[in-house]
Symmetry: C3
Subunit: 153 residues, 3 copies
Amino acid sequence: MPVGVFHSFNNPLFGKFAFYTGIVIGKTLLMSALTSRSRLTNKIFINPEDAAKFGGKGTTVINADQRVERIRRCHQNDIENVLPFVLIGLLYLVTDPDPWLATQLFRTFALSRCLHTVCYLVPLPQPSRAMMCSIGWCVTAFMTVAVIRAGGI
Amino acid sequence: MPVGVFHSFNNPLFGKFAFYTGIVIGKTLLMSALTSRSRLTNKIFINPEDAAKFGGKGTTVINADQRVERIRRCHQNDIENVLPFVLIGLLYLVTDPDPWLATQLFRTFALSRCLHTVCYLVPLPQPSRAMMCSIGWCVTAFMTVAVIRAGGI
Amino acid sequence: MPVGVFHSFNNPLFGKFAFYTGIVIGKTLLMSALTSRSRLTNKIFINPEDAAKFGGKGTTVINADQRVERIRRCHQNDIENVLPFVLIGLLYLVTDPDPWLATQLFRTFALSRCLHTVCYLVPLPQPSRAMMCSIGWCVTAFMTVAVIRAGGI
């Protein structure tokens, strides 16, 4: 492959990153859909125009309902963890990391985030969810340190 | 253009992606400014130090006000939809997609997000906003599937 | 460096971008850790299973506590500002900007975000935090306009 072209499918590691990024972003997108479904099923709306259209007669606007809020918190946790992973991952690829190590990191992150969602939505007893969140966090933190060192001024 | 260099203005599709990404990120940035303006105009503050400086005598700290909260929810919806679009879009470019199709996807996303903001802030009756949000969601989901397939292991 | 390869450590500006991006993403990651620590120290939990495991006997589930909420708002502000900066920064690099100007922008952003966190968590009197937030916002807005112009259709 041409020197310095890390964002290309000629780089096998890029393919792996693309695959696992697709999985975790796809999972994050599903959370939006789940939240909407939960609002419609439970008739919990946060905007008056939503209640007027989707709620039927007598539906009230409620700021928080535990069934909807749990899904929303899980979604927010994805936003706070998945998006930084992808951003740092794009830069980490350019540091030309060891392919075996990098693949394990991407795979571990994707797996821990999928299990995090299961722990949150079932919900499973703690500390299962805290552990899954920490594993993903450590992967991103590890890559962040590698990026800072590679860019070190 | 050199093989594999998709993130370059030598790739006309990159220029289009950059343009539409700039539009949607710029729009997201404007939501921060709108929230601040709404807080200052309506004297709704969430931190005591903000009320002390910007609120004048007797201003109280309020956790939620419907005028401010609507703008905040619109901003949050941008965060949840625009940022995943840009991340997946960067990877989607590398899959060397059909330029015509990709351009329509970028354009559709940018347009649907701008109309989503109009629907949310006016507000227009539902299901206008739900439709706009779904269109953008489907564009990102389509690109996500393409990225997973291209990176497929 | 090969024409058009901007995302490479052969491009010295990329190294600077990677360094400052690592700093601001790392700082954002630390906010998650700080929120968790604050929840555990103050025994403020939002999910029943968290209170059951980490809270000890008689701990209740509380939706909002000012000590935790301040850290969470600071984290949310990072999500809303740091992630758009990194996304637009990746595209801005490809516009082949003046290296001196671009370096100042990256440095200014990173510094303003670190000071923003100090202002928020101490907390310092306003308008210190508003100024730090505005500086970072202006950097991202400036780069966004440059990206839209470069991609201009």
